[in-house]
Homo-oligomer: 148 residues x 2
DNA sequence: ATAAGTGCAAATCGTTTGCACACTT
DNA sequence: AAGTGTGCAAACGATTTGCACTTAT
């Protein structure tokens, strides 16, 4: 369940000179125990269930801190705002490659060698952007949907 | 510059029994002249520059209509809300390549040779999917945001 | 002790909605 | 004439910010 150990994060926070507060410990605790993506209010509700009351504003601030430490992966899932998950893969350039059926929505992760990294390197030099991540998504009709 | 002819859209709108109003004509006009993705407020500002005042609410309503007619492609680029672009290419392997600043949300279309088409071809053979489209998106920090 | 961090409420941003009025058909 | 579509302002949900207060160092 736990991807990243709360203690490691807490240590990093202290090493960097940030204070170790209840809000930070609690939010990290929740994130460490959930492998799914959670929204700020999800975290807020989960904390309420533990009888801990941390203001949403502070939750956002903890999330920002973790993001700035590179410990958090966030995504937008269409509706309901941004969602967050701990992510210890410090490997700087994240990527996600998918093959998605445009009819039934079935999604496959494409594994194996990343065919984009050299393009990213060139782009980084050419554009002046510091590239952190890329997505490559193919949309098409899967064999099953093609039959019909 | 123009991907989809405004007249075709206008015709479709009338065929479907929707009324042909100034707001609809103007918004379609803007979209037809811009190949980039535009947000509702981008459209609003562009219209102001033409001395046309259409309420944002109406712009959203026109966008919803076009979306329901399948003429609009919309995407979320992390910051600044949803962005829209006309899109009539109902068939052939369509692609979109972008470089997006993860801080300010600035988006650039990457033009030139498609570096993915051969990957798509191979994937089509290997997977049995009939690939119609792909996106390649690079996220990073743009030179301006890096300065700060 | 002192600065960093918090809670709260107000502010903001993108988007939606209710309603009276305007315009296409 | 009838009813669709509009503008406006208020409502909304997610996120941010200002400020006085608390707490970790």
């Amino acid at each position: 369940m736990t991807f990243v150990k709360p203690d490691d994060i807490i240590q990093l926070i202290q090493e960097r000179g940030y204070r170790l507060t209840t809000a930070r410990k609690k939010v990290i605790g929740i994130l460490a125990n959930h492998s799914e993506f959670l929204g700020a209010y999800d975290i807020h509700h989960l904390l309420e269930q533990e009888n801990t009351r941390i203001g949403v504003a502070s939750i956002y601030r903890v999330l920002d801190l973790l993001k700035s430490l590179g410990l958090l992966k966030s995504e937008e899932f269409g509706v309901g705002g941004e969602k967050y998950r701990l992510d210890n893969e410090h490997s700087h350039h994240h990527h996600s490659h998918q093959l998605i059926c445009s009819q039934c929505g079935h999604t496959e992760e494409l594994l194996g060698e990343c065919p984009i990294s050299h393009i990213a390197d060139k782009l980084e030099r050419d554009s002046g952007y510091q590239i952190e991540e890329h997505w490559l998504r193919f949309f098409g009709v899967c064999p099953l949907c093609r039959e019909q």
